[in-house]
Assembly symmetry: C2
Homo-oligomer: 246 residues x 2
Amino acid sequence: MQDQFEPLPLIRIVLVATSHPGNIGAVARAMKNMGLHDLVLVNPNQFPSYEASARASGAADILDQARVVSTLAEALADCHQVIGASARLRKVAWPQLSSREVGEFAVRAADVGRVALVFGREDSGLTNEELDQCDKLGHIASNPTYSSLNLAAAVQVFAYECRMACGAVVPQSEGYRYQPATHADMEGFYVHLEQALLQVNYLDPNKHERFMRRMRRLFNRAQPDSKEIAILRGMLTAVIKASNPQ
Amino acid sequence: MQDQFEPLPLIRIVLVATSHPGNIGAVARAMKNMGLHDLVLVNPNQFPSYEASARASGAADILDQARVVSTLAEALADCHQVIGASARLRKVAWPQLSSREVGEFAVRAADVGRVALVFGREDSGLTNEELDQCDKLGHIASNPTYSSLNLAAAVQVFAYECRMACGAVVPQSEGYRYQPATHADMEGFYVHLEQALLQVNYLDPNKHERFMRRMRRLFNRAQPDSKEIAILRGMLTAVIKASNPQ
């Protein structure tokens, strides 16, 4: 269905000094779900680990390829754009983007070269010295009284926005397997309905105009497909036949 | 900064037969981050639990208020719109929305009454019988070869899209604390720059036009603010003064 799925090899996720190994695994899974593969860990508390592998579920390949480095500068050396995730909106001189804008920006920038999305410590985020190495900050709109997302949840949102920015599309579908009914289908149905309702003496011939308008409102709202109209008309045919047995 | 933050009391998260209690905690945290509070658990494997509370972090209140029921119908009884999360795009007669459309739809529908977002089992999602109780399906665009998000990650994405659909806005900011430089500021700067460069004999008076055009391209791209221009001009003043010490 998603023929246009494109991996995003030039968008890197960088985790700085992650405390909980389970979060690294959950990040790997979120990345793979969204088509990201490049994970760099700066001074993780523990890696590799059983917990990370367990939480990664089917995304062990992301962990296997992950690179561990000892400084943020090393993680960013080959990147031409660096976006730091920040739970707080900062009153600083960094350009600040919403998570949606980050997705759009990162995908555009990845046409030119490598882009890093940097995520700080679970408890305290990125230090000012680390932010100095970022070109922009990205911010997820959240509850101001409880704004700090779990690390993997934050990666999920940014990775999701990168995916959406690729033009990820769910096929427009109201779920119909058949062509929508045409205007002529609908008109044929209303004639048939009126006929059936008169036939069964439901409809007062003097009031049928107003009544039929109500029926039109109802059935038009339902936007039936051609198959459904065929079924409804089959029912009406049966009604007429049953009430008028030669 | 987010003055317009509005909680979303009429959007309910329903988890069906969740296996891992840690996921319930992570869901609670994701919900609270995004301003959702109404959690209903249908036949959870284990609840309450230490693991759920640990993963909920500061969102214990969501778990405390969570309701446990034994049938999906009970969880949905007071809802007027029900959206089922589905990892697969289904060839069925359910209207199918992208996660982005789900956010927009749910927030609009919550103006009228209660809306439920329903999430199935970690391993197998929702059964067809459960899908029958949904009005629409919601789908997160993902890697077709690894499409199933962690439960809490999926709730995070849908809850995030509800939040974004409320018009959550990160203040447009290029990070400047000062007014952007005006055109006149910029022109004043270029005159000053040219004067300084001539003064220090850097600029060949015969070639300065072309050179200054390059300078304009450079500095215009940087979109300096008024303070930065003041600083740059201070530097130029210093240069001129230093090279012409009366």
